[in-house]
Symmetry: C2
Subunit: 201 residues, 2 copies
């Protein structure tokens, strides 16, 4: 039996921090792991900026509500969920992801969690488990599932390679060239075709 594990950002919704930086008008939040590879340091930097700008969790969620799924993503996911089991496997935080899940019809989101203070400000963040995407597909394997996984970034590679079928979706030329063993596509139509093929449909 198969379960589909889909990355979130870049696959179904825009990069949340980049879109949030634009929606909120805080360009300092556009810095990503490309500029600051230390994720812990980057998150502390982001939390500090949010506090300085007076963005508590409510303001953040209101702003994220202004971000839409990628064009065609909801239709793709709706069709997929009508015949397959799907979970979203992401390194984002539930509090950021949930306003987007509302727009996607509440698929199950497996990610991380922010620690919110009594004043509504972000105090800290909890990473659910080490190598969370890898650990998630291994957990499904322990439940008796084979996984079909899709993602676009370096942090998806372990999940894709551990899966029966791993698909790079709208990834970079470098990542595609470095991983010729993975399928790759650019449209939801092709992605759906690969998944249906694996399911024998």
């Amino acid at each position: 039996m198969y379960i589909v594990c889909s990355d979130l950002e870049g696959i179904l919704v825009p990069e949340i921090w980049v879109a949030f930086a634009e929606e909120s008008g805080i360009p300092e939040l556009k810095i990503t792991t490309r500029e600051e590879p230390d994720y812990d340091k980057l998150m502390k930097y982001r939390i500090n900026i949010l506090r300085e700008k007076g963005y508590g969790i409510k303001e953040i969620q209101d702003t994220i509500s202004g971000i839409d799924p990628l064009p065609g993503a909801k239709e793709f996911l709706d069709e997929l969920r009508s015949f397959a089991q799907v979970v979203i496997v992401s390194d984002t935080f539930t509090q950021f992801g949930m306003p987007l899940m509302a727009k996607l019809g509440y698929p199950t989101l497996l990610c991380n969690e922010l620690v919110i203070g009594e004043d509504g400000m972000i105090e800290d963040f909890n990473m659910r488990i080490d190598r969370s995407k890898y650990s998630t597909v291994k957990g499904f394997h322990a439940m008796g599932y084979d996984t079909i996984a899709m993602g676009d970034s370096y942090n998806d590679l372990e999940m894709l390679k551990e899966s029966k079928l791993g698909i790079l979706f709208r990834s970079t030329d470098t990542i595609k060239a470095e991983n010729p063993d993975l399928l790759s596509c650019e449209t939801y139509e092709d992605l759906m075709g690969y998944i249906k093929g694996a399911l024998g449909l």
Copy 2:
């Protein structure tokens, strides 16, 4: 971080085989594990009757489409999914469960699978893994989650007891008396209250 694992039949929808026997007018299908404790034998008996009556997967799914979720179940699940991650953990088969998932807004369904022949008839069934409810919560634990589980029957007890919070919902007096360590309730309102309590909401 928590994930909610909910049994399906008796919690969100009626007992599928019993409802199907009524909807299809095939009373022989009302026999359950109470009358025939050997599940393998029972499933083979059911598959034979379906073949005799000419019920292929299409007719079965059409009939199941006539079964509705329990009153209040959709509203309960919609509210729960708006703030928590939820999966349905069931011993049913995807092909039986999916018409009901459509009515519940396609929550993720973790269950078993029927083998369908080229003629559309049920040929066999695949149980995903041994002790599937137990293995499912253990899999989520390996992903870094604590589980909140709800169920009504003997086959739910392992899942409930392995969880941080296990809740018997509309169970029998016998099961409740035998398991005084588990919370128990009869209404969605109380169930929601227990879950929110565990999540600190």
